[in-house]
Amino acid sequence: MGKLTIGCFSSLVGSMSLDFAVKLAAAAIDKGHKVDFWVSGNGTMLSIKDQRSFKDYSSLEKPLKELMAKGLNVTACEACAEARGYHKDITMEGFKRHSMDWYLASTFSADRVLHIGGE
């Protein structure tokens, strides 16, 4: 099986790119692949816990937790998160925070890298 590194820089609310990226990660994991998932820029919005779910807005905490339980390795850019006031105490359990070199290191062993830029 292969390893897929996904980087997504789009916001959770205001874009559907994170929805797509999480669905793609789910499909890859279901096929037995390893997936590293990096969020940077506005994408770090994904890391905040206890976001209220409305039908009009994307809400990915539940599927993300299910994927993490299946082995999804998900990490947020710490500087991007801190710049937005997304501190560690409001970060979803299991959601890692690292500097940007983590993403680059993940690409080293990736068979494919899918990078989805920001808005």
Binding site: F9, G41, D101, G117
Partner: protein, 137 residues
């Protein structure tokens, strides 16, 4: 010992979005990636500005003066300082009526040896074929 080459392609203009600066900060992060890898393994980064992205390279940017943030220009210079290769598309530069005189070409004041390469798109295309992974910003 192995090397993974990453190509960062910047197509968007500066300050309209965060993307160009994120491309540069991620490329600069290639300098510290070894902490996650085995001895001898490295990740290299090359950055190419194409299309509207060439506007990121204009010199004498006033981002600090107007927005109190670091400029994209300073990030390009920092990239040169850490030996990241920086390419600018010659044809796209010409479309804006710009020449090498209008853009940041070096970071001598920081002590950088690396300089910006203004090249035909054909060379950027070759770079894109040579790298292991492409990241579009």
């Amino acid at each position: 010992m192995a090397t993974t080459k990453l190509g960062f392609i910047v197509q968007r203009p500066p300050y309209k979005s965060e993307n160009p600066k994120l491309a540069l900060t991620h490329a600069i992060a290639s300098q510290s990636v070894e902490v996650y890898l085995n001895d001898g393994d490295i990740v290299t980064a090359e950055v190419a500005f194409i299309g509207d992205g060439v506007l990121n390279c204009l010199k004498d940017q006033k981002a600090t003066e107007h927005y109190d943030i670091s400029s994209t220009e300073s990030h390009i210079k920092m990239s040169l300082l850490v030996d990241v290769k920086v390419f600018v598309c010659k044809e796209d530069l010409a479309k804006f009526g710009l020449t090498e005189n209008d853009i940041v070409m070096d970071a001598e004041e920081f002590g950088a040896d690396m300089t910006v390469s203004v090249v035909p798109f054909q060379e950027i295309n070759k770079m894109m074929e040579d790298v292991n992974h492409l990241l579009f910003f």
